[in-house]
């Protein structure tokens, strides 16, 4: 199975046999991979009915719902890992979603497109218009990504919420980036826990 590059990173970060909640799980590609390779006990939440039908048809336990509204109903500590891949920027209340993730699970793994990437900065500087890139293909008025942030913004929010960053992987395409991160990474994956 071919996984999106951030999903590959996330899959590597999930411990074997973990209880996993994938928030915005799409058609269940990541959960199916984690079930096959890591033997996880996986659950998903997904907004699109067609995606849920596809995930359930794969034998996955996926609930159609809206993470902004539904995460509050999950009991605390029910999962080892909560995953939010490429979805944070579409949440109405990203801070509440992150807080719920570390309440529901011991560990939160979050991937998001970096709005601080040099192409985005250059596009805005040069054209004076909201950037349209491979990672952010929709025009500003049609994008589901209503809360875009940079890597630095995200780190600020995590600190503000009292979260501990346990690990971070920075990607440009499929390659890992190791310096000038907020300029060169077009995606980031963070592993967070509740601060002590």
């Amino acid at each position: 199975m071919i996984l999106r590059s951030d999903l590959k990173v996330i899959a590597d970060l999930v411990p074997a046999g973990a209880r996993v909640l994938d928030i915005g799980c799409g058609d269940g590609a990541l959960l199916a991979e984690l079930r096959a390779t890591k033997g996880v006990d996986g659950r998903g939440i997904e907004l699109s009915g067609a995606n849920v039908a596809a995930a359930v048809a794969r034998g996955l336990a996926v609930v159609q719902g809206d993470a902004d509204a539904d995460l509050a109903d999950y009991p605390g500590g029910g999962f080892d890992v909560a995953i939010l891949s490429d979805t944070l920027q579409a949440m109405r209340d990203p801070a509440a979603v992150l807080a719920n993730m570390v309440r529901i699970a011991r560990q939160a793994i979050v991937s998001f497109p970096n709005f601080g990437h040099w192409r985005v900065r250059l596009a805005l500087l040069a054209t004076g218009r909201m950037p349209v890139t491979a990672a952010l293909p929709a025009p500003w008025h049609a994008t589901p990504n209503i809360h875009l942030c940079t890597i630095a913004d995200f780190a600020d929010l995590a600190a503000g919420l009292g979260l501990t960053i346990e690990a971070a992987v920075y990607l440009c395409g499929a390659r890992e980036v190791r310096f000038a991160l907020n300029w060169r990474a077009d995606q980031a994956v963070f592993v967070l826990t509740r601060g002590t």
């Binding site: 039908a53 539904d70 109903d73 999950y74």
Partner: protein
């Protein structure tokens, strides 16, 4: 040519105690099975029927000569497939298709129970099904149902948490709402207002047809959606070019409902209708748990698939979400999807490829 659905009877001579405390001196269960129980007795799927259904879920109904009521879901090549599953479907307690109900003979009087039949609950229906499942020596199983069948499927997981591996609950609710009860009460009052009802003691072979027919008409409206009715009938007239300035069935929708009502009286018993609607009204899974639905599911080991339809206003998506929230809170493995359909509550009985896909995938992973 599909096979005739078998019409079996199981006679259980021992007394059967009901949730109300009343005792039936014996129990007869009318049921059908399809497929073969495997050596490990692990491939059983119990299908629970809705209010006016019967045990003939697949094949050809031997009484009507028409296809069983859910041949879209159960049968060769379908998600519930006799080639893989041992499919069991039983007429519910209180029914009129072979299982003990108000039309059965009361051994104390020698006549039909009529209104002497004790009031039953969904739990009583489930307990009776469990007796049948025990008869087959089946330990664990999957339970599938829509509407009232979904209530039974959910109640199975609560009543027998250690026996249920998988539950499919479609277009259903964990309790009857005030509106659900209200519509049922209209139907019951229509039956009881028919002089032919005679306090429930109408002679065998007769029916309070006018009352039962009105009950069915009112209920049938709740199974459809406004958009569905508009699309199917609009304001179109029945076999005429202008309204008659009378009370004939001028409109197609009137003619359709009258036909639905009348044909129903040929296949269903009025007293059974009273008793089964009562059982549905009494249904509230959370009631014994101080209203906490999650507590009802606390001991479950089952996987759940909950499905609702966008245009179902009888058991709307909000009721399914309530079930899903409770299952999540109980830590159960639950899947939920709201499927698009313009056909209202009846959508689960109609051609719904997405429903089949979901049930198929879920059962492949569960049974």
């Amino acid at each position: 040519m599909p096979d005739i659905s078998p019409d079996y009877r199981l006679h259980l001579p021992q007394p059967f105690t009901l949730a109300s405390g009343a005792v039936l001196p014996a129990l007869e269960i009318g049921y059908a099975t399809y497929g073969t129980l495997d050596a490990a007795r692990s491939n059983a799927v119990l299908v629970c029927h809705a209010l006016t259904g019967n045990q003939h879920v697949a094949g050809v109904d031997p009484r009507t000569g028409k296809p069983g009521w859910w041949t879209r879901m159960v049968g060769p090549g379908k998600p519930i497939d006799p080639a893989r599953h041992f499919v069991v479907c039983a007429n519910v307690l209180g029914g009129c298709s072979g299982t003990t109900g108000p039309t059965s003979r009361d051994p104390a009087t020698g006549a039909a129970y009529g209104m002497g039949f004790p009031v039953i609950t969904i739990r009583d229906m489930v307990t009776a099904q469990a007796a049948l499942i025990d008869h087959f020596g089946i330990d664990t199983l999957a339970v599938v149902g829509g509407s009232m069948g979904g209530m039974q499927a959910l109640d199975w997981a609560v009543a027998f948490p250690e026996r249920v591996r998988a539950v499919v609950a479609i277009a259903t609710a964990a309790r009857h709402s005030a509106q659900n009860i209200a519509f049922h009460e209209v139907g019951r009052q229509a039956i009881m207002a028919d002089p032919a009802w005679a306090g429930g003691a109408y002679p065998p072979g007769t029916q309070p047809s006018a009352g039962l027919s009105v009950a069915r008409m009112a209920a049938h409206i709740t199974y459809l959606s406004e958009a569905g009715l508009t699309e199917k009938f609009g304001r179109r007239l029945q076999d005429r070019d202008a309204v008659s300035f009378g009370f004939d069935a001028d409109f197609q929708v009137e003619s359709y409902l009258r036909h639905q009502g009348l044909s129903f009286t040929e296949r269903f018993d009025a007293n059974s209708y009273l008793y089964i609607t009562r059982a549905m009204d009494y249904f509230d899974l959370a009631a014994p748990f101080d209203g906490r639905l999650a507590a009802a599911f606390a001991g479950t080991r089952a996987r759940f698939a909950v499905v609702s339809f966008t245009s179902d206003w009888l058991y709307p998506t909000a009721e399914s979400r309530r079930i899903v929230h409770a299952l999540n809170a109980a830590g159960a493995a639950v899947s939920f999807v709201e499927l698009d359909s313009p056909f209202g509550h009846d959508a689960f009985l109609l051609d719904a490829p997405n429903l089949n896909r979901v049930v198929d995938g879920f059962l492949q992973a569960s049974v």
